[in-house]
C-alpha cells in the first residue's frame, strides 16, 4: 500500500462528495436570514412617491433611482435620473456596477409593488446596503404626481409646498421624457456603467 494509492482514494472520496453537493458558482445570499428579515420588514425601507418627487426636483445627488422594467418600457419614459436594470436580468449582472457608492441611497421601482420588492430583498441579501423601494411604483407615481390636482377649498402652507413639488416633478418628468429619441439615447449612454474588475492574476 503506497502513499499514491491512499492519496488517490482520499481524493476520489472528496470528489464524489463534491459531485453530489448542490454547488453553484453563481451568487448566493450572504446575509444571515434573521438579519435580512429584520432589515426588510422595517418600514424605513420605503419611500413614498412624494419623497422621490422631492429628490428628483431637488436633483439630490445622494440617491440613485433604479428602474426594474424592461429596456423597452424604460426607453419610452422613466423618472429623470434613473438607470435601467430589468428585473429578470438583475442577477446576471454584478450589482456593484449599478449600486453606486457606499453612502448612496438606491431606490428601486417598477410598475407596481412586486418586482421592486423582490429586487430589494435580493440586493440586500447579497450584502449591499441602503436599498429602498418607491412604494406603489410607477402606477402610484402617475396617479399621485402626474395626475395631481388640488381639490379642496383652502390650501395650507404644507399642502402648498407638497403640490408645488408635485407640479415641478411632473413638469420635469414630461420635459425630459418628451425629448426626441436620439437625444434620449445619448443621455442614457452617458449613464452606462462599466463592470468593476476584481483584482488578481499576474497583471
Amino acid at each position: 500500500m503506497n502513499i499514491r494509492e491512499k492519496f488517490s482514494v482520499l481524493l476520489l472520496i472528496l470528489g464524489i462528495i463534491l459531485a453530489l453537493l448542490p454547488l453553484s458558482a453563481s451568487r448566493s445570499f450572504v446575509v444571515k436570514p434573521h438579519k435580512l428579515l429584520s432589515e426588510v420588514t422595517s418600514p424605513d425601507t420605503y419611500f413614498t412617491v412624494d419623497q422621490v418627487a422631492r429628490f428628483v426636483v431637488m436633483d439630490d445627488s445622494s440617491i440613485q433611482l433604479i428602474d426594474l422594467r424592461s429596456a423597452q418600457e424604460f426607453k419610452s419614459f422613466n423618472i429623470p435620473g434613473s438607470v435601467n436594470v430589468p428585473y429578470n436580468e438583475l442577477l446576471d449582472k454584478d450589482p456593484s456596477t449599478f449600486l453606486g457608492l457606499a453612502k448612496m441611497k438606491n431606490i428601486f421601482y417598477s410598475n407596481g409593488d412586486f418586482d421592486s420588492n423582490f429586487a430589494v430583498v435580493i440586493v440586500q441579501g447579497l450584502g449591499y446596503k441602503n436599498n429602498y423601494v418607491m412604494k406603489g411604483g410607477l402606477n402610484e407615481w402617475f396617479s399621485t404626481i402626474m395626475n395631481s390636482e388640488f381639490t379642496g377649498e383652502k390650501i395650507s402652507a404644507r399642502e402648498n409646498a407638497l403640490f408645488e413639488t408635485r407640479i415641478r416633478a411632473k413638469k420635469l418628468f414630461t420635459k425630459i421624457n418628451s425629448l426626441p429619441d436620439s437625444l434620449k439615447v445619448r443621455m442614457l449612454k452617458s449613464r452606462h456603467f462599466d463592470p468593476k474588475k476584481l483584482d488578481g492574476g499576474c497583471e
Binding site: 502513499i3 476584481l198 483584482d199 488578481g200 492574476g201 499576474c202
Partner: protein
C-alpha cells in the same frame, strides 16, 4: 547532510493550502511572473522617466503617482525568496552551485538558463500569467484560460524536450 525532499503529494497539499489561503484572504491566486514585471517597470522608471510616461505600456503603472514596487505581486515574490530560503536552511540545502548535467559545460548551462528566462517571462507577459499565476491559480478557479495555458506550457515543453535532451540527460 542535506535532507530528502518532501513527499510530492504532501508538498502538493501544502502548496494547495497556501493557494486556498490566498483565495480566502485576498480573493486572488498566486503569481510569480507579475512580480518580475513590476521590478522591470520600476527599474525603467528610475532610469528613464520620460520614456515611461510616453509608452502605452509603462504609463499605466505610474498613473496618479503609483509606485510599481508597492504592489501585491512584488511583495509576494519577496516572500517567495524568503520562504524558499527558510526551507533551504531547514533542510540544509543552502549552497552556491551551478546545477547541470555533467555532459555540458557551465557556460552552456548558463546561456540556456538566460535564454529560458527570456522566453519564459516573455510568454508569461503575453499569456497574462505563468505556471503559477495562470495555470495553477487558473485551474483552481476552473478558469478556461488556466487549463489552456497549462496544456500549452506542458505540451510545448514535451515537444521541445527532444531537442534539448543533451542539456539534461
Amino acid at each position: 547532510m542535506k535532507k530528502k525532499y518532501m513527499n510530492p503529494y504532501l508538498a502538493g497539499t501544502m502548496l494547495g493550502i497556501v493557494l486556498l489561503l490566498a483565495m480566502f484572504v485576498a480573493g486572488r491566486g498566486l503569481g510569480a511572473s507579475g512580480g518580475l514585471k513590476y521590478c522591470v517597470v520600476s527599474i525603467v522608471g528610475a532610469v528613464d522617466r520620460p520614456h515611461t510616461e510616453n509608452s502605452v505600456y509603462y504609463s499605466k503603472y505610474f498613473e496618479g503617482g503609483k509606485k510599481p514596487l508597492k504592489n501585491w505581486l512584488s511583495f509576494e515574490i519577496l516572500g517567495v525568496v524568503v520562504g524558499a530560503f527558510i526551507s533551504g536552511a531547514l533542510s540544509k540545502r543552502l549552497k552556491f552551485k551551478i546545477e547541470k548535467s555533467p555532459k555540458i559545460s557551465s557556460t552552456r548551462r548558463l546561456i540556456f538558463a538566460f535564454l529560458g528566462g527570456v522566453f519564459f517571462i516573455y510568454g508569461a507577459q503575453l499569456a497574462r500569467g505563468c505556471t503559477s499565476g495562470a495555470a495553477l491559480s487558473g485551474m483552481a478557479v476552473l478558469s478556461v484560460a488556466g487549463f489552456v495555458t497549462m496544456i500549452a506550457i506542458f505540451g510545448s515543453a514535451y515537444l521541445f524536450a527532444w531537442f534539448f535532451r543533451k542539456n539534461w540527460i
